[in-house]
Structure formats: structure tokens, C-alpha cells
Amino acid sequence: MTTFIEQLPARWEVSQLLATPGRINMLREGVITLIGVKRLESEALFVSSEGGGTLRETAKVAFAGRERYWWLARKVAGVLRRVMLTELQVQNCTVDRPCINCPVCGLLGGLNTDINRALASRAKLQDLLSVEEYEYEEKFRIRQPDDPNVTSPTPFQEVIVPPGTRFPFIVRIVKPSRFDLGVFLYANRIADGLGYGNYSKLRGDASTRWLAIFDGFAHVSAYDLLSNGEDIDGRIKTLVGDPPGPVKKASTLSGEPLEKLVRQWTSSKEAWSGESGPA
């Protein structure tokens, strides 16, 4: 079956992006809206405040009628960028010094202070706000000293996000190409396995279940998804049938075709990188 994804341009080189007029109209250039649910598979700690003493606390925010765990978008974007840099084997570009010349900068943007040029991120991520209510529960932890001669361990406290916590994950890609979507889905899958937040070597693992990709700028908000109880899947399925906003409804990708695309594109780079394969 031909999907609108196959009609997207194969990829944008940075030189092509820089050749466009600086200001664009997103709706004219095209937008795709991805909606999924991120679920924590292990505990996580998303620290955003200094805290007091030995306490480290996951951020929270009052939103859509309850206090929710607050997972800042940049904590996802940072892991995605590192994964993309590694997987695409980009040379001379780092998180600290984006080159503004590689496919990763082409999608996630960056500022090069040597040439004073900025590329905007075409992948618009938003903060993740939990479906489940924030629960303040201090976990008492012990850090064993590295030095074997020091015998006393250091106690500390953490307020973590428990495993199983779900977050609506809404992403928009402006002026999208097949490469943009492919590298995003691929990197997201690896990032989920690497983990997010504090001490992600041991925790912060997640999984993403993609439920829809809309051909257009869907007027879908986290508020809409969170303000009607915890049946977020049901809410998204309703939206798939009748997405609000400038969206080509007949093109919406969901269900089995979407699962198949995600399976294919997250298992092999060749599927979307343009080297070979069905993309």
C-alpha cells in the first residue's frame, strides 16, 4: 500500500535548507504530526531543581486537573541527538559544537558560534506530562564509596517516576523528508533502550508505542489527551478517525500499516536512509 510517507522527499541536505528563505510557512512547507505514548520500563529521575540537602526530586507540574510528572522535552532531544550522531557516524559535530552542516543539525538544529549561524530544529518536541498523578514518595538510597578505605556510605533521597508511568508523546516534523522521519523513529527506539534522565545507565528505560502519524499539523494537545481520564489510547483512537486541524484525513497512518512501518524503519537504517530497501 502506498502511504503519504512514500511521497515525502527522500531527504534534505543542509545546503538545501540554507537555500530556502529564512522565514517559512510551516503549513505550506508541510508538517507531519506523530502521536504516541512513552511508557517508562524502569524507574526514572528527571531532576529540574536544585533540591535541598541530599534530596533529588523529579519535576512536577499542575496540568489538566492534577499534578503530573514533568519530563522536559530537552531531556529527550539530548539523548536523540547523541544517538543520531553515533548511528549516522557524523564526524566533526558534537553536542557542544554543532557543525550546522550534517544531517543531525539539519533535523535537530543548532547554533554554531564560530560562524554565528543558527539552524532551527525541524523536529518540534514538547514536554512530556504524565497520565498518572504525581506521587511524592521519598526513596532512601545509599551510595557506596569508591574508595575501599572509606567505610561510611552516603545516604540520599530520591523522588522517582515509577515504572509503568505513561506520557503522551507528540512530535511535529516541519518540512519533513523520509530520512527525517526514519532517523527520528530509529533514534527514538535506541534512545528508549539507552534511557533518559539521571543515571540512565541503570534506569530511565522507556518504550514508545506510536499510534498515529498525521499528514499535516494536527490540532492535538497534551491537554486534550490528558483531560478526559486515563484512557489515553481510546482518546488517540478517536482522534485518528477525525483529526482536527489542517490534516489530510485520508492519509493518516495508524494501526497495522503504521506498526509495519515502525517495525521496518526501526530495525534497519537502510529502510529509510536511501541506500537501499523499500523506502
Binding site: S49, T94, L111
Partner: protein, 200 residues
Amino acid sequence: MKAALLEFELDSSTQNVGPFYAGHEDTLRYLTREAVCSALLYADSIWQDKNTVYQPLTFPFESTPAEPVDVRTVEVIYNAGDEPDQGLLRFGKQVLLLPGSRFRCALWGDLPLLVEGQVFLIGKKRAPARIVRLVVENVCPNYTAEGSTLPVQLAPDAVIHLRAFAPLVATQRYFILRLPLTPNLRRFLIGGYVVPWPEM
């Protein structure tokens, strides 16, 4: 003349960066008229040469800045990057406008299509926001309307011509002001709010 009053709520955190020194990046609680107009037109810069001088943006409609109605902020710590002593904002504090914060603004002129529930991207990092209240009416400018007044945004060189104002925000590029409803101030009423429209 067609005008609209709209209120919108942030779906994600964002900033309108204000004072930024000593690793502390603060936010203004107002969003500029350029931010509002660009957002509602879905216009964005895909790249920027930071060496070029800022050129004023023009839009097919006018807007007030977005004033905070129920805005909450929080200070977060920031620790980015892999290598020490490279890049910007290595470690510091940022003040963010929180998700759920509500703003109000008025637009007039050749309005874009607006609907309640509409989502657009606004502010730093382009946070999604959704329209939660919308009033669209034909309005007649006058010199007598009374009521709660929305702020206006003016360039610094325009402010010096005003006889009276209360400054809310002052930057090198713009001032956001509350204007007293004097008899010679052109204005119009929309959705229960007076929108000053000074003749410059």
C-alpha cells in the same frame, strides 16, 4: 474592522528570554506581538544569520502582546553538553513559563483563520499552545470605550511621543506598556476588553 480576542494556554514550557547574565536566563511574562503573529500564521525561521541586524517583521494583521492571565513560572537548573568549558549555557538556571499558563491578546485587521482548540507553536523552542477562548467581532474604533485595558507593544522611539504610560516590560527593541484611557486615545472594545490603538 474585524477583530479577535483570544486566550491561549501553553501545552509545554517555553520562554521569552529576558535578562540573561551570570548563567541565569530569566523569562519575561509577556509574549511579544511578533511571537503572537508569527505563531498564528505558522511562520518560522528555518535558519538565521546571527550577524544580521534585526529587521522589523510585518504581518497582515495587528496584535497586542500576549499578557499573562494565569502564568506560572519555575526556575530549573540547566546542565548541558559533554565537554567542559565549551558552548553556551553549560550550567546555570533558567526560568520557564510552565505548561498550563494562560495568556490573552487581541488581533485586528486581515485575520487568519482562528478556531477554539486550535494548536500553534509559540515562544522559545516553539512550545505548542491551544486557543481556549475566542471572540471574533466587527469592531468600530472610538475614543470613549471604557473597561479593562490590554497592553500595547511599541518601539522605543514611539514611546517618547506618549504623554502618559505605565511600563510593563522594557527591552532594547520594544516596550510593553499600559496606556491610560485618555480622550484622545483611539481604541476599540472586543470581548469585554479595551484595546488601545494609538495613532502614531
